[in-house]
Amino acid sequence: MSQELVRGSIFVDLEKYKYPDNENETLKKLQFKINKGEIIGVMGRTGSGKTSTLMLLNGLIPHFFEGDFKGSVIVNTMNSERYRVQTLARFIGLVMQDPETQIFGITVEKDVAFGPSNLNYSKDKIAKLVKKSLNAVGLLGFEKRITSELSGGEKQRLAVAGILAMEPEILILDEPTSELDPAGKIEIYKLLSEIRQKENVTILISGHDSEEMLNFVDRIIVLDSGTIAWEGKPEHLFINVNLTEKFGIKPIETAEITSALSHKKILDKENVFLNNDKLIEYLKLNFKKSNEKYSEQEKLPLPVHTKTVIEVNNLSFGYRSGESALQNINLKFFKGEFVALIGKNGAGKTTFSKHLNGLLRPTYGQILINGRDIKDVSTSVLSREVGYVFQNPDHQIFSASVKEEIEYGLKNMNLPTDELNERISKVLHFVGLKNYENRHPFTLGKGERQKLAVASILAMEPSILVIDEPTTGQDWDGTKRIMSMMNELHKKGHTIIAITHNLRLAVEYADRIIVFSDGKILLDGTPQEVFTQRKILESAFVVPPDSVLLGDELNKIGFDGSFITIENIINRLIEKLSNVNAN
């Protein structure tokens, strides 16, 4: 036992833990060890017990959340049951998911000083700690900034700094990247590996970011139904797409492609790769000789632009503070299109979309929906034509039953009762919530609540659907479910406008991508057209999805074609490689 009792180490042997109000155990037979200085990734589905596991480590369970706790948790040589959370907080820092509720100070420096001042450190020491931790998170120079005016990414870094200022030996982060755009995500992971090098702290991070987990953590713990389902090096997890599928973890694209090929017996099992370079290297070595000319793949027929459903002319919008948010936007959307709006946080995607149903009104310019100028049309009337699905279902659910929740929008439309009931059962069937009519919405899981939010909009049968960041904060299962639901809606003939950071969704489903940057439209075209404009994308901080980058490399070594989706690549490789094998 003595070997575990090192500072910075964690030793968990939990028989079970059950929240006071829950019927079932949230954690059971949970055993793991973490050594000083390791970076550990904690992965698994939403609801698999990640947050509870992390709250176990600084004593929030069983002190704050009492419940039924049996077992022992030894962190930093301390038994968590014997110390108060406040005392453990000196050694074990926990950064939670929502930075908003972790910021107490008005200015950045005062917020960072909050932790150490609770420990009654001297003023000099606190000043040094504030400086050091702001430096560590890259916020030096932000001392006097007002916390409520920081961007999402800056708030997240500030939350980390606030914890670092207490000089923890173990740093725990619960899904710190779920609300960030792709660039912000990578920054957090880079930050953590820097902190580990400089401070020699043990780090645990939970999240759904497969690529970053693969590149930045030493070891991954996968949770499933409250217990450890898998534990090991990230490359061993991600190389096995059956495993990631089983645990609801998003696969690495290269692994997905090479596994599909090995499944078809085109590649050997040992040639399943995680990394594009390795695959390219392998292809170069083994398939160099093939010189046969590639016949241009049949291009997808361009969608026929039958009817303009939205026309935006010279739209500009400025906030009251004078800062301009949108500048001279001219766009047309056609019936039945699936359009993805991409660009980094704050680029103007949401501000633009809110004009389409009148939540925001243009400072200058004109918007026509189905040929009608919407200047004097209220949002409530527009909601019948333009459905707007917000990201957070909890910002709209208020009823005591699923049925009443959906009824709300329909009642606002003054529909007769029989049509109302017909629409409710139809929409519940479509989203997969049949037989849920009388359930209380708050007893539903997060995924089901989101389905309900979508259903409540769909029931109003708008022909145009705007969906704001549908996959943000979702696990892989949720992401897939939403992507297929959007695809089905598209097939049913809805015009879909999706605001998203999920470029995989954009390349696989959208027939048009619009790139926003600083309130302007930078690019507008098919996925193929948009993703060839690398320089422009770079200026908008958009990194093309892995499949597009791999497609580039494949083109360079003679697998010419237009590769956008994973499916494109798999098909082309199968075609090409089976030819070579036959020769």
Binding site: N58, L60, F64, R84, V85, Q86, T87, A89, R90, G93, L94, M96, D98, E100, T101, Q102, F104, I106, T107, K110, A113, F114, G115, S117, N118, L119, N120, Y121, S122, K123, I126, K144, I146, S148, G162, I163, M166, R320, S321, L359, S378, T379, S380, S383, R384, G387, Y388, F390, D394, H395, Q396, F398, Y408, G409, N412, M413, F442, S456, I457, M460
Partner: protein
């Protein structure tokens, strides 16, 4: 937002919270001592100039005053019609400006009008003066003032955190309203009861969300070691400087002269 610290290097910002609190007291007492709208207007103008001197954006002042306008109008009408002209000391205030009904019934007296103006100016002064304090004083100072009055740190902290979250809750409530509007909700045109009913879809998600947030806040406080030690470091002790004493003397002088002027029957109606 009434309570919103606005950082700046102005002179008022550099004053101690106690100096500012005394100033607030003096201004309020003076406003209530004098009935004359001219004196109250002068006080209001001075407070307004002070507010401008601390570089508060005009848009913010507008936002604070806008909801008060209907109250002001109602007050003017009520006082104008209800104050009998013969109650006033000065002759000019006994005049009747017009009658609401023919046959000289329900008179609107000039004195009543002036009295109404004074009442609205008093509210105006207090609102502006408290805005001066809240926008020039960080919450930390206000907590310390509370502690000087022997309020326990925990309670003072909870009050300050509550204040810090008002803008956050406002933002949430806007987001929820937008989400419900997108489902066809209409706010503000159904009469009082209709309106209360139409806000239920906003209130319930807001309450549920604030409950969740307050739990997260409690957790976050523990994570930051709140309550780990008996004593906490006072990062910024409030302290009276020489300029504070100077200003306080001026404030007391104004207070004394106001009482003196009042005793001489100056500023009556």
């Amino acid at each position: 937002m009434l309570i919103d610290y606005y950082p700046s290097n102005s002179f008022v910002h550099s004053l101690d919270i106690r100096t500012k609190a005394l100033g607030f007291l003096v201004v309020t007492v003076a406003a209530f001592l004098f009935l004359s709208p001219i004196i109250n207007f002068t006080i209001a103008l001075v407070v307004f100039l002070i507010l401008l001197s601390i570089s508060t954006p005009l848009s913010r002042i507008k936002k604070i005053l806008k909801p008060l306008v209907p109250i002001f109008i109602i007050m003017l009408l009520i006082t104008g019609f209800t104050y009998p002209a013969e109650k006033f000391q000065l002759n000019m205030n006994r005049q009747v400006i017009f009658y609401l009904l023919p046959g000289e019934s329900i008179p609107f007296s000039s004195g009543g009008l002036f009295y109404g103006i004074t009442l609205t100016l008093r509210i105006f002064i207090m609102v502006l003066a408290s805005t001066v304090i809240t926008s020039s004083t960080p919450i930390e100072d206000i907590i310390q003032l509370m502690q000087k009055f022997k309020l326990p740190y925990q309670i003072a902290f909870v009050i300050a955190t509550g204040i810090r979250f008002i803008p956050t809750m406002q933002k949430k409530s806007e987001m929820i309203q937008e989400a419900q509007k997108a489902r066809g909700a209409e706010f503000g045109n159904k009469g009082i009861f209709g309106n209360i009913k139409s806000y239920i879809p906003v209130l319930i998600p807001l309450i549920v969300d604030s409950l969740r947030m307050s739990e997260n806040l409690a957790i976050a406080m523990l994570n930051r070691g709140f309550g780990a030690m008996k004593n906490t470091t006072n990062l910024h002790e409030i302290k009276m400087a020489n300029r504070d004493y100077a200003i306080c003397i001026i404030e007391l002088f104004i207070l004394a002269s106001s009482f003196w002027a009042n005793s001489l029957n100056i500023g009556v109606l």
